[in-house]
């Protein structure tokens, strides 16, 4: 049994300690906004926050988050009101949308650490996340908007 906080609430999970957080969150805890894309930490579709820092949930075992606070896209805001989500809507970023939870979680982590990142910093930080629909130009614009409008 492993206990951690998920989106502010304590959860207990009875699964092997080697089980990956991604699958626990999706299949056991039914929060499917966090996506499986590559299983190797190369695409960022599974990005969550652990104690406020972004992390590839496909690379984290359950035991590694014991006692920690995990935030998924569902916990970012109750009503799409996080500045990054508002900017994402304003810039009409998503296309297929599959990678976007991970993109938004990466962007939110960036702005939490660096409220006014340079363009180069945005590109460097966000290059962990693949978007096959090619929404990158709009992601950059949305992050700059979120930094501006807060």
């Amino acid at each position: 049994m492993v206990e951690f906080k998920l989106n502010g609430k304590p959860v207990n999970v009875d699964a092997g300690e080697d089980a990956r957080l991604l699958w626990i969150v999706r299949e056991n805890l039914k929060l499917t906004g966090t996506k499986y894309g590559c299983g190797t930490g190369l695409c960022g579709a599974c990005m969550v926050h652990v104690d406020g820092k972004r992390a590839f949930s496909c690379q984290l075992s359950l035991s590694e988050v014991a006692g920690k606070a995990v935030t998924t896209i569902e916990g970012l805001s109750p009503d799409r009101s996080h500045p990054v989500q508002k900017a994402w809507l304003a810039e009409r970023v998503p296309q297929c949308g599959y990678c976007q939870s991970g993109q938004i979680m990466s962007a939110a982590a960036l702005l939490a650490e660096t409220p006014h990142p340079s363009r180069d910093k945005i590109v460097e930080h966000m290059s962990t996340n693949i978007c096959r629909c090619g929404t990158y130009p709009r992601i950059v614009r949305a992050i700059e908007r979120a930094a501006r409008e807060g």
Partner: protein, 734 residues
């Protein structure tokens, strides 16, 4: 937001027919412009309903849209076209996936529900407008009768019929509560449709209905669906198509905790387990000997050289794709130019690995499936064939697609059948999830191609003759053999985009020589266009170079009789500052294309590292004329996206096959563009007084601009796509 997409979208056709029966007595003839005749009806509850729209008493209008939504936006655009002509209030419109019924909702081009080929808005545009106009006339006629005024005195505003002379207004919801519907509808022709100047929504941008759910994690893809008692599946597929398991050692796999069953399938081995991770781990433990098939010895690097030799050998008879005049005029040319081009296999890499959930009844005679598909009726039929039951025994839930790009419309819908077969074996609902490695190893690729080109120039630079031969396997033959046969076995996917309808090429012969090597192939965003844009637009630049002409001016000569094309080039020239010299070893490259009636021109600006051969794309300017721009910002988004998508195939993405086995495995050896690779992109959408044409694939023609920019920057022509650093260096040294 008031609009939404229902997560598990579709309702069965049975519901509609039951509803029709329930409304007996109120039915009226409502000629459907798409597919077969279909009646609409006022329901006893007071709603007014057609096959495409329902107006409720509370004024909410539900519009069904048959387009699969994979981010391209046509689910919204089709509904918006109906709302425009109906004069509905978009804020009170809900959009749902249409039922599965090809006769009513089939794409007018394909005759089935199939979202592909950038064909949704262009083909449905007029039929849907006509349909909505008829529904609007019914509303107006009812009000005219009620108020005793001539219908001609009535107008509509969003969701309201208005009588200006008396100031009276009645909402669509109120009308729906009493609407009587005539047995014969008032005739509506294209001349009766709303003039473009009166459009309220078309040409302005609305938020796509699927977008809000995609910023809070609530969007539902097939991989997200969970049903009670569900198990997880994973399939080890034969490395080569048509190979099958000869010997299977299941022991190690069976011992993985959580494994429920190990199932031998005709084409592989399936694992059924209690968690996805157990299923993946068990699959990795399988030991299988596969039957040898002709493809088992296939080696793509060698095969491409074989294709190139075949392409050059004009004694071999080819299948003509496009022909005009007499290509023999070549002998009169002052200058001739000849070249061989090659393109490699490319992989879709949609972000959602293929997956499906199926729940087959214990007796095996009915099934329910959830999947992301571009062709729901094809997928339903494939499941029915695999289970040996009728398609009417399969309920298919068409989910949002985490990327499609042509990968999800194949005749055999193999990833959906995986789930159906494992569910039947396990007697439980099974969600089969392909790993990323499965998705590449079992990938179906845009085929590699070899091209021979020769052209002759007159002294004044006119192209007197154009000869182009393509040698390749044909993807359509693999992905949809019945459709391939019905199209006279033409190599449609290989050849699309070799024809160049805007260019003045009076003497031309373009043909195909087909190879059959048994590889797994697919259309991929733009089918032949991205590779053929690379080949033909590179070669056009070679001709310009031979004539010592500026590439822009050379193309202006080729499109001199096409004003729309000239307008695109002129706009592009200004945007990109084509005339301005670039420094620092940067190069500008141009391409112009007429793809399926959409005109697009692009200029790429690149720099090339002369030591490493690495190409960096700094800027892309794009100008598109797709006729009437229904959703301009969405068009720009699609062009941006397709440029990013296809610059991967242009520069880095490459699949190789050795001994019939795909050599790449994941994003570490299949390199797709990341944000750090992406240029500044500027898109200009020209909305013109022409019918809307396709937009989703057209940015993929950027291959030609990038290749020409690399040649401009280095002085060396790379004739093999992708333009990997090794190939660029090798061309520079030659």
């Amino acid at each position: 937001m008031n609009q939404h997409i229902k997560a598990s979208g579709h309702r069965t056709a049975i519901n509609r027919r039951e509803a029709l029966a329930a409304a007996a007595g109120l039915t009226f003839s409502f000629l459907l412009p798409v597919g077969k005749d279909e009646s609409a009806f006022g329901q006893p509850s007071g709603a007014m309903r057609t096959a495409w729209l329902t107006i409720r008493q509370d004024g909410v209008v539900t519009i069904v849209s048959p387009a699969a939504e994979m981010g391209q936006g046509s689910r919204t655009s089709l509904a918006l076209i109906i709302a425009e002509e109906l004069d509905a209030d978009w804020k009170r419109v809900q959009v749902e996936m249409s039922p599965l019924d090809d006769a009513i909702y089939g794409n007018p081009r394909y005759k089935i529900m199939y979202t592909a080929g950038s064909a949704s808005v262009p083909t449905y545009f007029t039929p849907l407008r006509l349909h909505a106009a008829r529904a609007r006339r019914v509303l107006i006629d009812n009000v005219a009768e009620k108020w005793g005024v001539p219908a001609a005195e009535l107008a509509t505003e969003p969701g309201v019929v208005v009588h200006k002379l008396s100031g009276r207004r009645m909402t669509y919801g109120e009308i729906a509560s009493f609407a009587r519907v005539p047995a014969v509808l008032p005739a509506v022709t294209e001349a009766d449709l709303k003039p473009a100047a009166d459009f309220r929504y078309i040409g302005k941008d609305v938020l796509r209905v699927d977008v809000p759910s995609k910023v809070d994690g609530s969007a539902q893809y097939a991989i997200d669906v969970q049903v009670p008692g569900m198990l997880y599946g994973s399939v080890l597929r034969a490395p080569v198509e048509s190979s099958s398991p000869n010997e299977v050692d299941k022991q190690a796999a069976s011992q993985i905790p959580g494994v429920v069953d190990v199932v031998t399938l005709p084409y592989g081995i399936g694992i059924v387990a209690r968690t996805p991770e157990a299923a993946f781990a068990a699959k990795a433990k399988l030991k299988v000997k596969w039957s040898a098939v002709p493809g088992s010895t296939f080696n793509s690097v060698e095969a491409l050289e074989r294709y190139a030799e075949r392409a050059k050998d004009l004694t071999v008879e080819g299948k003509v794709w496009d022909k005009a005049g007499d290509v023999g005029a070549m002998s009169q040319a002052k200058t001739t130019v000849e070249a061989v081009y090659r393109t490699d296999y490319a992989y879709h890499a949609q972000m959602e690995p293929l997956n499906a959930l199926a729940s087959v009844s214990g007796s095996g005679d009915t099934a329910e499936v959830w999947c992301g598909t571009q062709a729901p009726t094809i997928a339903r039929a494939a499941v029915a064939r695999a289970l040996n039951i009728g398609p009417d025994k399969v309920v298919l839930h068409a989910m949002l697609l985490g990327g499609g790009f042509g990968r999800r419309g194949h005749y055999d819908a193999e990833y959906v059948v995986d789930a159906a077969l494992l569910s039947r074996a396990a007697k439980a609902p099974v969600k089969v999830i392909w790993t990323r490695e499965d998705d590449i190893h079992n990938g179906r690729f845009r085929p590699m191609t070899a091209h021979y080109l020769k052209a002759g120039l007159a002294a004044d630079g006119q192209v007197m003759a154009w000869r182009h031969r393509v040698c390749s396997e044909e993807a359509l033959a693999f992905q949809d053999s019945p459709r391939f046969k019905s199209r006279n076995e033409r190599a449609i996917f290989s050849m699309l985009g070799t024809e160049q309808p805007s260019y003045d090429l009076p003497n031309r012969l373009i043909d195909h020589v087909r190879q059959v090597d048994g590889m797994r192939l697919s259309s991929m965003r733009g089918t032949g266009n991205p590779p053929n844009a690379f080949v033909t637009e590179s070669f056009i630049d070679e001709l310009a170079h031979a004539h010592k002409a500026d590439p822009m001016e050379f193309r202006r000569g080729l499109v001199a009789k096409v004003p729309r094309a000239l307008a695109v080039l002129d706009t592009l020239s200004g945007m990109s500052q084509w005339q301005r010299k670039r420094s620092d070893g940067r190069g500008l490259g141009l391409c112009f294309r007429n793809e399926d009636g959409t005109l697009i021109g692009m200029v790429a600006e690149v720099s090339v590292d002369r030591k490493t051969g690495v190409v960096k794309v700094a800027n892309v300017w794009a100008v598109i004329d797709a006729g009437l721009a229904v959703q301009p910002d969405n068009i720009a988004a699609q062009i941006e996206g397709a440029i990013v998508y296809t610059m991967g195939a242009a520069l880095s993405e490459r699949v190789t096959i050795a001994n019939g086995t795909v050599e790449q495995s994941n994003f570490y050896d299949y390199n797709v563009p990341r944000m750090s690779d992406v240029p500044a992109i500027e898109v200009k959408v020209l909305s013109t007084a022409n019918p809307p044409s396709g937009i989703g694939e057209m940015g993929g023609n950027v291959t030609g601009a990038i290749a020409n920019a690399v040649a401009a920057a280095t002085g060396a022509r790379v004739r093999h796509m992708p333009l990997t650093p090794e190939r660029v260096l090798s061309a520079m040294r030659a």
